[in-house]
Amino acid sequence: MEKIINKFQVKYLQILDENGKCDEKLKPKLTSALIKQMYEYMILTRVFDEKALKLQRQGRLGTYAQTLGQEACQIGSGLCIKNEDFVFPAFRENGVYMLRGMPIEMLFEFWAGDERGMQIPKNVNMFPITITVGAHLPHAVGTAMAFQYQKKRGAVITYFGDGATSEGDFHEAMNFAGTFKAPVVFICQNNQWAISVPVEEQTASETLAQKAIAYGFEGIKVDGNDVFAVYKATQEALKKARSGKGPTLIECFTYRMADHTTSDDAKKYRKESEVKKWAKRDPISRLKKYMIKKKIFSEKYEKEVLARAEKQIDVAVEKAESIPRYKPEEIFNYMYETLTPDLKEQQEKMKEDLDSGVKEEDKAEEVKEVK
């Protein structure tokens, strides 16, 4: 006997196309105020990004990973998060951090190389940045399992890229999530490039969304540059998770408009024409077109929003750069809750060294990545 015992489908969702044309039937309920909020946070994210790039080029920040082009993925999903939820970002989610109330100066402080920037305030329901690709996905599922056990109402939402879907931790986390029906939403920002590897070389799967099917839950692909589609899919997935109906994978199909990080040069491995093509699908300009049509946009408003964002970012940079440095001996203080005798001894030695004139190598030469 031979027969087909199962068939699968993957849904794709686009509501707002690149010309700002909206499928009103699919559009979720959105007040003008919420649409404006979407626009304003996307602008804020972009202004943050531009500023961070500039500061990095001036040597005022360390290596920085840009958000450019992925604003709709972050703001569309981020606006669905409630205080009772919890967020595990990767390392590109500056927009989500700002949306969740992270003081912007802390983000600059972190990217400048100060760990205190990731001392997330108590009222911000987020985890610090995870640099290693995909390793935070099991953490997200574990927290979701804890929420289940603690009978909490909230859900967990976690962000990662297309490259992460090749990591073992992605698969282990997805499998745990499916097996335990954990209240977690996986947001994959498929920006199509994992440093220099295009997504077609990352996997033979036609979509990343379909990977969820193997783990027993729904995966949906959305236009990641369409803030309405991301919002709708996330809203539904979070609602499902919060009501005990298990996890969802959302593949936000987008494009990394910038280099992987400031240490990377994407010109080496991808065509400018591709970048230009995607510039036309910009998430902010299509929302703007829609807002103009709906008469909730004016030149005055545009200028005001931009000026406000720039002001906010400038104030944050100023604050970040005026934070006094911490004492070198504080590097010992967060290894354990209590200093061990060994660490105490090493800390004393460091203080002695400093007192006797051993200087910190402040201007260590930056190692450039081989291109």
Binding site: A135, P138, G142, E172, A173, Y334, M335, P341, D342, L343
Partner: protein, 344 residues
Amino acid sequence: MSKINMVEAINLALKQEMKKDKTVILIGEDIGEDGGVFRVTEGLAKLYGNDRVIDSPLAESGIVGSSIGMAIAGLKPVCEIQFEGFIMPALDQLISHASRIRNRCRGRYSVPLVVRCPIGGGIKALEHHSDSPETYFIHTPGLKVVMPSGPYDAKGLLISAIRDPDPVIFFEPKKIYRAIKEEVPEKEYTIPLGKAKIVREGNDVTLITYGAWVKTAKEAVEHMSDTGNYSSLSRKNSELKNSSGISVEIIDLRTLSPLDTETIINSVKKTGKAVIVHEAQKTLGLAAEIIARINEKALYSLQAPIERVTGYDVIVPLRLYENYYLPNQQKIINAVEKVMRNAG
């Protein structure tokens, strides 16, 4: 109070901590109905339910990774990795994350996690079931590493590990899972992490070891006193504890990280000689670090070069040749005699 083995003592500790604290949760492979491959979690699923004794999918990074997530959300997960040879897929989660999260966010989140894991050889098992990888964890700042040497210590140390606010790797020497029976109080008690125990006092040689080898070290010293097989040493001390004429002080490290340097140094200053025994491979095994610390803090007290009895720098052989790899009484006696001889 009854005499029980280490498996039963650990089970008792888990049972009591779970009763006392609802945030304590167990997760691992086959730990539910099956009670774990060594039966350490026997009966706990029945007692506390499957949502507290979680049979996980077969994925070590997933087990430790999700436990980290539970820990930062306010639970106290005690996960079981079935064998030390299977802990490697979880190394990334332990070394890159569990150990670093407190520092990464300057104390905003912490990871009160315990990873229980059987360790070491002596049970004539397959490949990956007889290794001693403790050095990887000892080398990692932010982790604590504990290895009990018997039932009584296992219970008290595990309770301390569960209550500790930082990630603790709790290695259980399989060789002595059932080989030692001790009186273990029913009531809960703790043994502080980071403190070694002098299990036998002596004045001539400090014998430093941990885990399964504390038993062997004690037996070796007793054997020496029974047979008196060493007699030609120069006696400096009148308080000789065995008829061989060598008074051996045995230190059980109990916690491998943070290391109780003070107890080691005080003893070596007294005896002037040291032998270190472990089953892990020699190069960069814990003995190397202990020797370095003795050099830093007690070099001028030394009367002879320090001896190491360790595994060789080879892959642990399968069952037929495993014993050639492992320390044993004779190797320990030889090392003790050698330092005595070298001290003249």
